[in-house]
Each structure stands twice: as structure tokens, then as C-alpha cells.
């Protein structure tokens, strides 16, 4: 209860630190989400509708990668971006870009694996017709993505949820630097390690509220569109 009151206080006093952190969290996660969706959705779709040796294994791999520990992703990205690493010359370590990269690596498999399942179901229905019409490759992928758009929002929201809640990877590559790479989750982790559990919970409540708003927005748009258009 204290945490709720504290969360409320933080929000209504428009605490500037809070809003800086909140805004960075949103920015990083949304950019990562867009990139991951642009890669993951076509990938998942393509794997659902093409047949080639090794396809089963790719799907299996995607599913397994959903269980990739964030810390490991963080480490890999860290080693790549570290000044002595292969991409060190980009100078991205401890910047928001590094956090975006880590999140992309983390959520692309999730979006791809989930959309793969959605599209596979639709494919059962469409495959004969598409085959008959000679629709293959890019045109088929796009058609499936368009026709499954409402179901795919859930995959995207799952990816967003993972991105916004993620801490293990971003703290390694971002460094949780105040005013630079401190996001909601790393702030929560910091407050927890300081023993400020109430403040940590308050921040968690704020983050959850944010997550609720983003989800409400997406689902709202989806319902609105679904109602006005096609079943």
C-alpha cells in the first residue's frame, strides 16, 4: 500500500527524474520492438510457409532461443561492443543504443517463434489456395502478415512485455548510468540493492501502469480496427 501511495506521489508530482527514466525506458523498448518485429515477423512467417530441410530445426532453435538468459545476451553484446571487441570502434557500449541492441537480440526470437505458430495455423487454411494462385515468397509473407494482423498483435505485445521488463541484459551493456542509460528496471534493481523496497515497488507500479497503457492502446486500436473492418 505504501508502494502504491509512493507511486502515485511520484507520478502526480511529475518527478523529473522519474520521467527521464520512464521516457528512456519507453524509447529503448519501443525502438527495440520495432526492429525486432521487422526482423521477427517475416522470419516467423517465412518459416511457417516454406519447406526446406532444416526448417524444423530453425523453428526448434527459435523456440529454444526464447529461453535465452538475458545475462548471456548482455554478455555477448557487451563483448561485441566493448572497446576491444569487434564493434568497439562504434563506441556504443554504455549508450542507449547498446541497450536497444541487447533487447533486439532478446525479443526477436520470441516474436519470431510466436508469430510462426500464429501463421502456421492460418497456413493450414490458406496454403492450398495460395499454392493454386501461385502466391509464394515475399508476396505470401506479406499476405499472411496482413491477414493475421490482429492475432499478431499478441505476439508483439509479448515481445514488448519482455523488452520493457528486461533488466539483466540492459544493465550489463547499458551500465545503469544515471541520466544516460538508467531505465525503469535498472532503477528498480538499484533501489532494491539499496534496500529501498518501497521505492522499488513504487517504480514497479509505475512501470506496470505504463505497460498497461501501452497494451490498452494497442488492443484498443486493434479492436477498433477489427470492428470497423474485416473479421
Amino acid at each position: 500500500m505504501n508502494a502504491l501511495a509512493e507511486a502515485f506521489r511520484l507520478i502526480i508530482t511529475l518527478d523529473p527524474d522519474l520521467f527521464e527514466i520512464l521516457w528512456l525506458s519507453i524509447r529503448v523498448s519501443l525502438i527495440a520492438l520495432v526492429i525486432a518485429a521487422v526482423i521477427g515477423l517475416p522470419l516467423g512467417t517465412w518459416l511457417a510457409i516454406t519447406r526446406f530441410p532444416g526448417r524444423k530445426f530453425c523453428i526448434l532453435l527459435l523456440n529454444a532461443l526464447m529461453g535465452m538468459p538475458p545475462v548471456v545476451v548482455g554478455l555477448i553484446v557487451y563483448l561485441l561492443l566493448s572497446r576491444s571487441g569487434p564493434l568497439g570502434w562504434l563506441g556504443l557500449l554504455y549508450t542507449p543504443s547498446a541497450m536497444i541492441i541487447a533487447q533486439v537480440v532478446l525479443i526477436t526470437p520470441i516474436i519470431a517463434a510466436l508469430s510462426n505458430q500464429v501463421i502456421e495455423n492460418l497456413h493450414q487454411e490458406y496454403s492450398d489456395t495460395f499454392y493454386s494462385m501461385g502466391i509464394t515468397g515475399r508476396r505470401a509473407v506479406v499476405a499472411y502478415l496482413v491477414d493475421a494482423r490482429y492475432a499478431l498483435t499478441t505476439c508483439i505485445l509479448a515481445g514488448f512485455g519482455r523488452a520493457i521488463a528486461e533488466v539483466g541484459a540492459v544493465i550489463i551493456v547499458g551500465g545503469n548510468i544515471d541520466h544516460v542509460t538508467r531505465v525503469m528496471t535498472t532503477a528498480i534493481a538499484l533501489e532494491t540493492s539499496k534496500g529501498n523496497l518501497t521505492l522499488a515497488l513504487a517504480l514497479g507500479t509505475v512501470l506496470l501502469t505504463l505497460s498497461l497503457l501501452v497494451n490498452a492502446l494497442v488492443i484498443g486500436v486493434r479492436e477498433y480496427a477489427a470492428e470497423r473492418q474485416y473479421a
Binding site: 490458406y126 489456395t129 499454392y131 493454386s132 502466391i135 496482413v146 474485416y230
Partner: protein, 236 residues
């Protein structure tokens, strides 16, 4: 070049599902243009045969050639209308636009004309999945004809249409056939078969039982099984 896919030769086509031989060695040559109607009891394998022809199913054994082409090479000259049409989750017009070859796309008027030909112009902007059963079937036919196929396969395409729609589709199919398109049509409707068929293939139990010119088939079928079918007598 519609003639290039003729004659259609099917040789010892076999397909087993589970332990049942659902196609048990189909031998069939279709060398005349015009409309061929395939008849036969439920489960005889008519749909499976059509699907093999279209390349949707790879048979366990046997050979299919269309002219000098194999199935895989003839696919862009074929079009098929299924027993249960699958339409995209879009409007009627968008369904056509999606299927249209690139040339047709640059001329949206072509699409409207196609809708008109199946009397669906006033449903152009309605979600295709909200159309009535008959309307969906007509839309599927319009979509199949967009590509001007040399071979048109119809699987009970008029099964749930009203008499007027049936006549509309029949006349569309006849017109298409007159332009040189080979039509193979599965139907249980004897009236329709009489109206359309140039020749009839009768299937039973995964095999071709009889192949005859239409007038001869309906006048006096050569096989007892076809005779019983026409009389509605086959024991299931």
C-alpha cells in the same frame, strides 16, 4: 496457348492414406477440349484426383502429363475453385486485386468487370468473409478466372448456389470453355452435368469406372455402378 496442355494423361495414379488406397490406380486420358465432368459417389476420390492434377498432392505412384508438360510446369496455366472457397480477410475487391496478375493490377477497371461478371459489383467493398455462401463461391470463381487459365478445375463450385447463380456460373464456364480453356468439373448435380458436359468420367472407390461422351453416359451408362449412382441407389 491453351492447347499446349492437351492431352491430359493420367497413368496408374495411386495414393494411400493410412491403410486405405484412396486412389487405387487411376488411368485416364482426356484428349478432347471442352468440358469434362467427373461424377461419382462421396469419397470416390474425385477431389483427390483434381488435387493431384493441380499439383496440390504428390501421388505415391503414377504419372501425370499435360501436353508435354509435367504438373509442376503447367501450374501457371491452371486455376482451381475449391469445394469450400478460402477468401482472404479483406474486401471482395481486395481479394481480386491480390490475385490479379501485375498487368491487371494496373487496370483496376478489369477487377470491377470481373466482379460484375459474377454479379458482385455492389459487394465490392464488403469484407469477403461476410458474404453469403453463394456469393463467396462466385467471388472465388471470378478470382480463378483473372489469370485466364488454360485449364480450369472446379470442385463442386455450384453446390450451394441458387438456380440463377448456377446458371450464371454455368454460362461463365461455357464462355470460358468456348474461348479454348479446358474445364474439368466435379459435380453431383445431374442436371448440371447434362447441361455442361461434353464427356463424363465416372469414378468409384478410387478408380475410374467409366469414361463416355455425355449423351451416351446419361442415355445408358455402361457400368452397373454408374447406373446405380444415377438412380441414387448405391449402397454406401
Amino acid at each position: 496457348m491453351p492447347s499446349s496442355i492437351m492431352p491430359i494423361r493420367i497413368c496408374d495414379l495411386r495414393l494411400t492414406k493410412g491403410e486405405r488406397a484412396v486412389l487405387g490406380g487411376v488411368d485416364l486420358t482426356i484428349d478432347k477440349s471442352g468440358i469434362t465432368v467427373i461424377m461419382g459417389p462421396n469419397g470416390a476420390g474425385k477431389t483427390l484426383l483434381l488435387r493431384c492434377l493441380h499439383g496440390l498432392i504428390r501421388p505415391d505412384q503414377g504419372q501425370i502429363t499435360l501436353g508435354h508438360l509435367r504438373v509442376a510446369d503447367s501450374r501457371d496455366q491452371q486455376a482451381m475453385v475449391f469445394q469450400q472457397p478460402v477468401l482472404l480477410r479483406r474486401t471482395a475487391l481486395q481479394n481480386l486485386a491480390f490475385a490479379a496478375p501485375v498487368i491487371a493490377k494496373s487496370r483496376p477497371q478489369r477487377l470491377i468487370e470481373a466482379l460484375e461478371s459474377v454479379h458482385l459489383a455492389d459487394r465490392a467493398h464488403q469484407p469477403a468473409r461476410m458474404l453469403s455462401g453463394g456469393e463467396q463461391q462466385r467471388l472465388a470463381l471470378a478470382r480463378a478466372l483473372l489469370g485466364k487459365p488454360a485449364l480450369l478445375l472446379l470442385d463442386e463450385a455450384t453446390a450451394s448456389l441458387d438456380p440463377a447463380s448456377v446458371l450464371v456460373i454455368e454460362s461463365l464456364v461455357k464462355a470460358q470453355s468456348a474461348q479454348g480453356t479446358k474445364v474439368i468439373l466435379v459435380s453431383h448435380d445431374q442436371g448440371q452435368a447434362r447441361r455442361l458436359a461434353d464427356d463424363v468420367v465416372f469414378m468409384s472407390d478410387g478408380q475410374v469406372a467409366e469414361q463416355s461422351p455425355a449423351n451416351q453416359f446419361f442415355a445408358s451408362p455402361r457400368t452397373p455402378v454408374a447406373k446405380a449412382y444415377l438412380a441414387g441407389e448405391i449402397l454406401l
